[in-house]
Symmetry: C2
């Protein structure tokens, strides 16, 4: 039985496509993407999902309270029997209700070496701060912004001639690699959490 | 004419010894350590300086206001014609007076990938946060804690079996390398500062 992923996105969802490619290429074995959801109508990621014959739909969040909205989303994820939720550029904080519905079952990818540069425009923040190394982070999601235990990180050097675009491109390449790797680790249960540390183990099924 | 370094420390000053070794080995050419100062009587780094025939003394800070104390320290640094001040485990914030006395002329090394984990016990903070990469940072010093433009950083992986000691040892090795490298870059004037970014150039003398 395949493990079933639910992907949440708000934009183009390039990390969604990377996950889909990794499943096709068996870099994430025994998995499928059961549903792609967006809080925004017309998010390009929805069309990209449909063109891969993956069920996809918008659930507009406008005007709804956070938890009311999240209850709708969780209901749809449960309808599709989702085992693991993957955020891929999903521009909303999750309510405690949502987080509680998928214990250790929600991952996010963020384009910085957390805890540096949470929030928006992390690559620009990194460049303006003048760090010499930047990177990306896959972490479990809790109700705080870009927090939660870290599964994997990757590092890229920041060069003197880097621009926001060139740095973002380098980081994005690493994002696509470590997100798939992290999803595989979590689906195969090859980790344990001690405090905030995610330690790697030989695995049990999720 | 050698460039003259002033080193400030509060403890063992292993980074002071790394700088002294680098000068001896000509990894920092045309430089000498003119004076080692400590705010703490009996700081082991003072004895280590004396055993290398480097002038060293304590200037106890107890009971003095920050700027009053800093005026004393700056006076001694000036007496010794110091060109560049290197903090090496110096457990005090500098006053604006001190910072203003050495424009772009004070460096610090911090055992984290700033802006992550400023302050004390950075290695423990990193371990407890659960980051997968840690490191160290050489930066120009301003009046804020572990802030100021970054000259160099180095990265080390955090392994599942790392302890505070093993991680600190790995980071310290990198500290010793990048601090010497950064001092050389600054002494040779091979940098320019744009915003907060320190960019590397072909050099002019400091």
């Amino acid at each position: 039985m395949n493990k079933r992923l639910g992907v949440l996105l708000s934009g183009r969802g390039s990390n969604f496509e990377a996950l889909a490619d990794s499943i096709t290429a068996n870099r994430i074995p025994n998995a499928e993407i059961a549903i792609v959801l967006s809080n925004r109508e017309g998010a390009p990621g929805l069309d990209r999902a449909k063109s891969r014959n993956i069920p996809a739909r918008a659930i507009p969040s406008k005007g709804l309270e956070r938890e009311t909205y999240d209850r709708e989303v969780v209901a749809v994820l449960n309808e599709h029997k989702v085992d693991l939720v993957c955020l891929a550029g999903y521009m909303r904080l999750l309510s405690p209700y949502f987080v509680g519905a998928f214990p250790n079952g929600i991952l996010n990818i963020h384009p910085s070496l957390l805890p540096s540069f949470p929030g928006l425009e992390s690559q620009r923040q990194a460049l303006e701060y003048g760090v010499k190394f930047a990177g990306c982070t896959v972490h479990f999601v809790d109700e705080n912004l870009d927090a939660g235990p870290i599964v994997l990180q990757a590092v890229v050097p920041v060069n003197d001639d880097d621009t926001e675009d060139s740095l973002s491109a380098k980081i994005l390449q690493e994002e696509h690699k470590i997100y798939s790797e992290a999803v595989r680790i979590v689906l195969e249960g090859r980790y344990k959490i001690e405090g905030r540390r995610v330690l790697h183990t030989n695995g049990r099924s999720m």
